[in-house]
């Protein structure tokens, strides 16, 4: 695997996916990136020490010119500054971080994304397009802001199965309801989304004995495995989301323990 480093990259494209949600293409200046779906980068679009920390973002795509796509929602200062970047601007990147998803078993790969959590799964979908069968699911809440985002995803991947909690778009229901409907016992599930979604998925894993891999989020200070700020408790003891994850086997995770 490629060793992590800090490097400079150029914004070579910037596209609005929906109000407040952007996809940008970042091209490293010197490096040639080797990355797997589920890996992520720490990014800072400013040279000041304030904000002090990099921000973590999943890779949502990789392009032939060596650039990577990051799809993100503006939620605070860091993402605001990133969204203000214009084409040609330089940003700092740290990565590739984490391990990404393990090699798929080769059967059907069900990719279940909750809202913005779909980002790393878009990369997975694209990455395995020509090698294995994949099925992309997107689940959103009923908040209107997610409607245009869902449409943007559908436009890119028209066969996406879409679920909204209030039925405003796609089928009505949660993504876990949806999974229960479509699952085959040979499937493998990769998921990314809010933790509530993972909790509900725990039951699926019990019932179907399918392998479920989930990509977690934690606040991160370093992203390189040094600070232990991003710990999650697992059956094998505490793990670092940034360096041991962000992808874990769902049943390994001890949600209820500190």
């Amino acid at each position: 695997m490629q060793r992590l480093s800090d490097f400079s990259a150029t914004v070579i494209e910037k596209e609005s996916m929906a109000p407040g949600i952007w996809t940008i293409k970042l091209k490293p200046e010197k490096l040639r990136l080797r990355i797997l779906p589920g890996q992520f980068f720490m990014i800072r679009a400013w040279s000041s020490k304030d904000p002090f920390l990099f921000r973590p973002f999943a890779v949502s795509g990789k392009n032939p010119d060596g650039s990577v796509d990051i799809s993100f929602k503006v939620v605070g200062r860091g993402t605001e500054l990133l969204a203000e970047c214009e084409r040609g601007q330089k940003v700092l990147m740290r990565g590739p971080c984490g391990n990404g998803f393990p090699n798929p078993l080769g059967k059907r790969l069900v990719l279940a994304g909750g809202a913005m959590g779909i980002a790393p799964l878009l990369f997975a979908r694209h990455y395995y397009e020509n090698s294995i069968r994949t099925l992309l699911l997107l689940g959103i809440t009923g908040e209107p802001e997610w409607e245009p985002f869902s449409k943007a995803i559908l436009q890119k991947f028209p066969d996406t199965l879409l679920f909204s909690e209030n039925g405003m778009i796609g089928r009505k229901g949660t993504i876990v309801d949806g999974l229960a409907e479509i699952l085959d016992e040979n499937d493998e599930i990769w998921a990314c989304g809010p933790e509530g979604m993972f909790h509900a998925m725990g039951k699926i894993e019990e019932r179907w004995t399918l392998p479920i891999w989930v990509s977690l989020e934690r606040r991160m200070a370093c992203g390189y495995g040094g600070c232990l700020g991003c710990a999650v408790q697992t059956r094998e003891g505490p793990k670092r989301v940034c360096a041991d994850g962000p992808v874990f086997r769902l049943k390994e995770i001890l949600w209820d323990e500190p």
């Binding site: 904000p51 002090f52 991160m220 200070a221 390189y224 495995g225 040094g226 710990a231």
Partner: protein, 319 residues
Amino acid sequence: MNPDKRMALNIGGLEFESPLFIASGVWPMDSAEWPDGALNGVGGFCTKGLTLRPKRGNPGIRVWETPCGVMNSIGLQNPGIKAFLEQEYRQLEKAGKPVIFNLSFETEEELLLLLGYIMDTAGNVPVELNVSCPNVSKGGLSWAQDVNALERVVTLAKRNWKGLLWVKLSPNVSSFTETALAAEKSGADAVVVANTWLGTAIDVSRLEPVFDNIHAGLSGPAVFPLTLRLVWETYAAVKIPVIASGGVCTWQDAASMIAAGASAVQVGSALFSDILATAKMYEGLSSLLEKRNIGSVADLTGIAHGRRRDTNREDLRHG
């Protein structure tokens, strides 16, 4: 990076190739995870805080960004000294950089056991007593808050340790120089000034404290002027070397710490915002020595104490 002989220094009889160390708790213990080049210019690094028994660390949010800083409440997560010595340390040994064992303990017995295990496996390596961790309820900070306890524990360590003994002090105490003097008197080879500064954070979206422990330790550039003050005062008070730790991000920061009295400097949170921070500091400090024709970094230590501003006014427009 060009190695520069003038950057080498001696602390308590041990030679280090650079006055720049990596602070405890910010660096992975698995050398397979080290980014290329990130240890260039580093004189040695401190382990994550080690305890006798394994610790899972604190629940809840552990890191929180603040203006030019970061707060942490890790709670000394570590595999325990035995597992550390058997696993991580075998890796670290091969890395070719001095490893300083950062130790936390709740009782004197624990300290003795810790030192015993280390002696058996690693020998007389340098140790850094962490008497200043703000994030654990027992031990940690409480040692530094009671001068008598501090003297007792440092004396005990000194009697039972032949290697280098650093004592890492807390800024969250009544009288900082008093604790520094106590450490010196009890046999410390150097004092590390200082650990994180106690702070609080509120999550405004919930109007709740961010951390389960409510308080957590602040580090990063925000605290630099505060720790620099402690370094200045400690240098004026003790004779043993002072090792600065607090907010050092640039070579100018490192030079300021050294000019104020530090023999060496630890780099911690700076790495969060630039993984090559230490390597860059090395270059900068080395050029400073070159430009000022200073023969050794040791000659820079405390240099600002001899100097007061010669004018009481500065001339800002240098024509």
